[in-house]
Subunit: 360 residues, 2 copies
Amino acid sequence: MSFPLAPGATIGILGAGQLGRMLAMAAARLGFDVIVLTPEENSPAARVCAGAIVAAYDDLSALDVLADRCGVITCEFENVPARALAHLEQRGALVAPCSRAFALAQDRLAEKTFLNEAGLPTVRFAQVDGEKDLDAALELLGAPLLLKTRRGGYDGKGQVWVRSAPEAASAFEAIGRRPAIAETPADFVRECAVIAARGRDGQTALYPLTRSEHEGGILRRTIAPAEAAPATLAAAAQAAERLLVALDYVGVLGLELFERADGSLLVNEFAPRVHNTGHWTLDGCAVDQFEQHVRAVAGWPLGPTDALARVEMLNLLGEDVDRWEVLASDPSARLWLYGKADARDGRKMGHVNLVSPLAL
Amino acid sequence: MSFPLAPGATIGILGAGQLGRMLAMAAARLGFDVIVLTPEENSPAARVCAGAIVAAYDDLSALDVLADRCGVITCEFENVPARALAHLEQRGALVAPCSRAFALAQDRLAEKTFLNEAGLPTVRFAQVDGEKDLDAALELLGAPLLLKTRRGGYDGKGQVWVRSAPEAASAFEAIGRRPAIAETPADFVRECAVIAARGRDGQTALYPLTRSEHEGGILRRTIAPAEAAPATLAAAAQAAERLLVALDYVGVLGLELFERADGSLLVNEFAPRVHNTGHWTLDGCAVDQFEQHVRAVAGWPLGPTDALARVEMLNLLGEDVDRWEVLASDPSARLWLYGKADARDGRKMGHVNLVSPLAL
């Protein structure tokens, strides 16, 4: 297989939720076929692509079938078993982003260590493998600390506050006595994100900085582009560029940032994939994050990333999706629904982009 | 089934070429599943939708399966056998647009007669069932005439010029001695088109007039929006509105127009479906013709139709598609490829929208 990958080739995706669904549609626009591998029957992405292999992510024979059929393989989520990616890479399948980005993103301690080494500032943190480490961390970093499992957990799950040494034991118990990281609180005034892309030739492209609003650890709203001081915008861009290069990255990634009162930034985390904070690009940019990711992994040139409109992206969580009829009547609302049947509390059912002209 | 059709419902499409492919992607964005029925294995649309029934269009048991699974059924092309639509309607399936629009669009004589009765001007024409009718038509309308089969033929096929009475016999032979229509040449200076939509509630929405350039009977280029005199723009809009109402239409249709030197318009023909001259809306409008059609047939409110950009749409015919690599490098070029393997001469393999700011 040589790059750029020609239309007509097949792209494999590990995972088949809404991110895979929107990736598959973008790939189809460019003339690619898509096959997803997912343990889920009737997944959101399977209904918009050429084929679905229903199997566990670490089912090696299923991975072999995928590799045989695909020119390149990518992922819609970061918690793909390392064993699966290693197997694909060992048998010569072209996987992008590479397994290293996933290994880092799957381990909060390794991720923050890597970020600091690459010159990207984060909150202060300490490794916690037992209650004694947590006591030491409280002594070193002060209280309160946020105790998080190193692996697993998302959207606010798998973490607990520790306000004093006597709480250490119960806190460590609460996260399941698993290898953990203790972090100082981020003294932020708002949360931001950058969607960044890097091609196979090293070309990079950054979408404008956006503002994120979370509730209960789940993204509710993105405002794009974010207003920010020039120095803040420059720092965000520099951080994203550094990260892309440090990872020797190919594809789109989401970089989540904390902005402090003085305009300086801390990196919260990165996701080696298209990202919820980039959904605004579907209706705010000529080339959205999904097409950009397909372009990058297929070895195509990256597309333009300027904001062509102001977009307010609202996630439709659980029963929010029942608002579809009202939103369908709003001429400024572009609706993206994920084809999920069961509107459980907090489940991402879709999103809406409210589009308005850019302020001049 | 009640309207508006809720997300999660299934939409059936007869036909599965590029129009079905882009319809299916639009339906998925709104949370619908799509099933196509097509005689073609591995069709362009089948690779982006939830299911495909591979069967002849008049396979009644296949149509029954489709009807059982779908909340509403639509078509991506106008030459669906009347028998198929009648069968679906008889068994209570909700078909949009209705079979009458197809019956008219399938018969050039019925279509032009209907258009004139609805107050839409066309070229002059005469019914030709044999050579004698053609002689009479030449006497009545003068020469030359364009002799076309009443049914079948597209992209310039199934038609022949008749320049004098002695040519009548060979001309009638050339079109296979089939029921025909003889038309006076349209004295046009340019070709235009309007994409028009009508909802289940009678709401209408028109996209801006566009200019069309054909070569060998095949659309090569659309310029959107077209520059035209206010009276011409008004006449085009009036014609489209009249047609939608006269047909009691639900869905998107393409109306092809001839513009004469004095700015007046003649209707060439209409297609009761999304249309190649509307592909520019994919990158020039907030709601493209495909989403608009899905909205209409699903009983949703129609979306906005203003042009947000100037778009030059170029069809990629046959080997034109080999230009994908150059087009992928052009930041103003939005590429839409249809996933067809065989780049036969003149075959529509994809299109590109070259996007630039609207002139102020």
